[in-house]
Symmetry: D3
Subunit: 205 residues, 6 copies
């Protein structure tokens, strides 16, 4: 799972991680490319986002050995695209993932676009699914769905609560109401109570 | 506002109608193309959907004189496409709408597609917005947004409650939870508490 | 697996069927919508295509109880689209498939388009993959891949040889060279020797 | 209104500005990102384009207080994309625009693409329309139209005549014939004598 | 050249025909599918459109032996799609065209869509270009261009003047101003004074 | 013909070059942007790729005076995009090409994307065709085809054999089997034994 910043993976596929862990999947790797030191709200230490990320992942049940955190400058990932690509290729060689979750092809955020573009290059022969962050998209092709139960949503919400910095910034999508809303809308599309939706980039069986 | 069946307009843009009525817009026209006599659940009269539609529209505040109900066979609108088009052209000549709301370009339902295709032909020189029904789409271009307040959602929900036939069929999207969920997800995209999203087909100023 | 005509499924995903059967999947259902009585070359009985289809399926290892053959008029499926849809809905209710293979969204053939459109409606809450028939497409989104071994190709080729009517018509894609060529081109895209490629329409986990 | 270079806004939506001014809209802001000092033809001062821009805007009726001119290097805006974005965010905070006009999603020019991409990020919660410059596009989605009268075209043409540097370079689209031609073609699409067409990126009511 | 109705080919590629004839191309075939007897304005004979078509083609320099006129009902071509396809296949076999001009993939008119869809099936192994009629499109991919001189435009205009029925209906695009306007806009895209633009569907060398 | 690296043009349109040379076309220009000094396998000199390129071109019959080799850093062309563009504009002015072959709009490789983007800007008023390299694409619009004979394929294969470095790296597409496979698949689409397929970006007659 590739995250431009801490919290992207939790918001986009936290329920999926919770379900995978529950189903016994112990080989989950999450890489974060920027801890956005510059964007931490006043009163928090520079390392706040990194700490919150470790916390959130622990709550979701991802082993610490599966976590990688890189220190690229937030919002400027595009200036280091070849570096990012080489990092991804290295990661791919050591992890040999079966499925890669990354930002979607439709994500407008500059760092998300860079990670999508480079991820596509690094993992083009692997199954790749792009997660949904509606505030960053104009359109979103809901081709993939992972159905969820109430308990997966609850776990996702618990993990998100680790991000005290984001609550301090009043993000409207940092609320249980939003988490449940998006899961319900996506569930309705596939006759399930809840789901997370994905942009299926490639699928290899 | 063009609806293939009763309830499509309410589900897709009921909040918008509530807001328009509140803002004093008295010239609202709604045309329904099939009352789906064949799909009425057991124990309801054949005319149930038509009656429920009149009821729902009254609750939203649309004048009865603005309502047209045609009796095309449900799920078979495509076999009468030229008739539907001629009906739309006639309607357009008498109403001269400034904005036309119709099913979106992405809607998979056979009758919705017919109404979209013929609507496009009849109103190509007018502003046209396609409403969102997520259970009928794979992708949806959220180009247009109409922001809503709590009270518009409540009115939408009240109108939907007129459809007792649909509650009898246990449609998961016939619930206040769903109505609020989709409005919250779309609101998050444009920094509003709630919104309805639209596929902007054409816009003329 | 949905086929507008006999041989479409074999050409588009014969290797996949061979692999599924080998992996122990015994629940494979194949429905053909037209046996194209009118297109049978001179010297063959009207039922030739139906017989060849049963033969080909036996070679691939699909049980006869999983086969359905309907008698719609070839090239005119579009005139019966609502019938086809209702047939598909019925089929879906009895079979409850996990994955549906059908013609792709890009297929230009009139009957293939009808089956794609109606299949999409009938199975929109299920995993759906569209198979590739290059002579019928201008573009093709190779999102999905099923990797194959030499033995799956050989089985596919054996099944195709059942279609003596098609050899009589000199179709250039009824040759082992073509079967191997397309499998090699698609394999190269995902670092496998051979593969069949698919248009991933929907994927539900 | 966002312009990569002087003259882009005049060519793409000069008639629209003329109509807005006529209708009493006094809050028009135009930001130019490069005055292309390097591209000024021989015999003109380095500041020629900036002066011509002020002149053209005066003719259209835009107040000088609404004009911002930045000095990014022409054709190299992409190398400063994060700077441009931050500039746009700052601008957005001070101006709080209702509608943003910017280069279209289809514009091939490197600086136009940068301004489109960063504009999209800065104003994603606002109505955004992309203007049309046919020499820079392969396709163009004419979703939005602003109808114009003869007098708006004349005003547009007057404003363009301020660009003596461009006439010196014999640009074929710096002619009254072209201005009228594109307005007539776009008008025909919406039953108006003249119009300017736009790529509707987002629309919020 | 395939025309749903008389005048479509003249409007979409009349200049191209004029240029081809001038360059000595004597093998030009034009097929019209409906002479729209029902749409003839009052005071004209039922055969007016057919006569005008022969006239227009004579002016452009196309031999009468190259003209085919079929009598399908206007606006209802879709109900006869398989017939139209079979007609096209027959035509293709006798003419063996190198290039086929037909309505574009983006044309919204019901008869134009039918002719595009069936043409695509009949001629998929041939070069196919779709002509532009802006009043029928929302977007148009200007991939192909045929550059024109003043004299080709004049010839096109002379041919269009044969359509007295259309002048009687006050079509805004039946004017020299419009003919010149669209040719100038398309010319600007490829550094030519005038051009006609096309949707390149397939190109085979 | 524009190649990001040596061997791209040979793989994507080697058969086309062979056919053009055979038909007497003596004005063929090929520009390579990176000789990828860093990617040369052990045991080969740094200049290996450049030498192999000259060799391959000689085999195809392209005159040495038509070859240009630039030394941009492999995989980092994007960091020099304005330089690349200026190089292309200069090349365009000296060569005045009728047709430009370049990487396709769908190519995922970072250097190929840069060359496509800048090529589009430099040659937007010229015929441009993008060649196909399936390992770099998810989708590919096969709009253009150049049909080939066995002897063109053989010549292509001979030229590719000059690339000893690539054989050392075991590229699966460096084999006669692959060369023939892709040519056969593309040929099937246009009723020819063999063909190379192209993304038609622009076509000007």
């Amino acid at each position: 799972m590739l995250a431009p910043h801490t919290d992207d993976v939790e918001l986009g596929c936290g329920g999926t991680i919770a379900r995978f862990v529950e189903e016994g999947e112990s080989q989950i790797f999450v890489a974060v490319f920027s801890t956005a030191g510059d964007s931490v709200p006043k009163g928090f230490p520079k390392t706040a986002l990194r700490d919150e990320f470790y916390d959130a992942m622990r709550i979701l049940g991802v082993k610490k050995s599966g976590l990688s955190v890189y220190d690229y400058a937030v919002r400027k990932l595009s200036y280091s695209r070849q570096d990012v690509l080489e990092q991804l290729v290295k990661l791919g060689r050591s992890v040999k993932p079966d499925v890669v979750f990354l930002p979607s092809s439709q994500d407008l955020h500059q760092d998300h676009q860079t990670l999508y573009n480079e991820g596509l290059r690094a993992f083009k022969e692997t199954t790749m699914w792009g997660y949904e962050l509606p505030w960053n998209t104009i359109t979103f092709p809901t081709r993939g769905f992972i159905t969820l139960e109430e308990r997966h949503l609850e776990r996702k919400w618990k993990a998100l609560q680790a991000y005290k910095t984001q609550f301090a910034m009043n993000r409207p999508y940092f609320s249980l109401d939003y988490i449940r809303a998006i899961a319900m809308v996506r569930g309705v599309q596939v006759k399930s109570k809840y789901a997370e939706a994905f942009d299926v980039i490639r699928e290899k069986w």
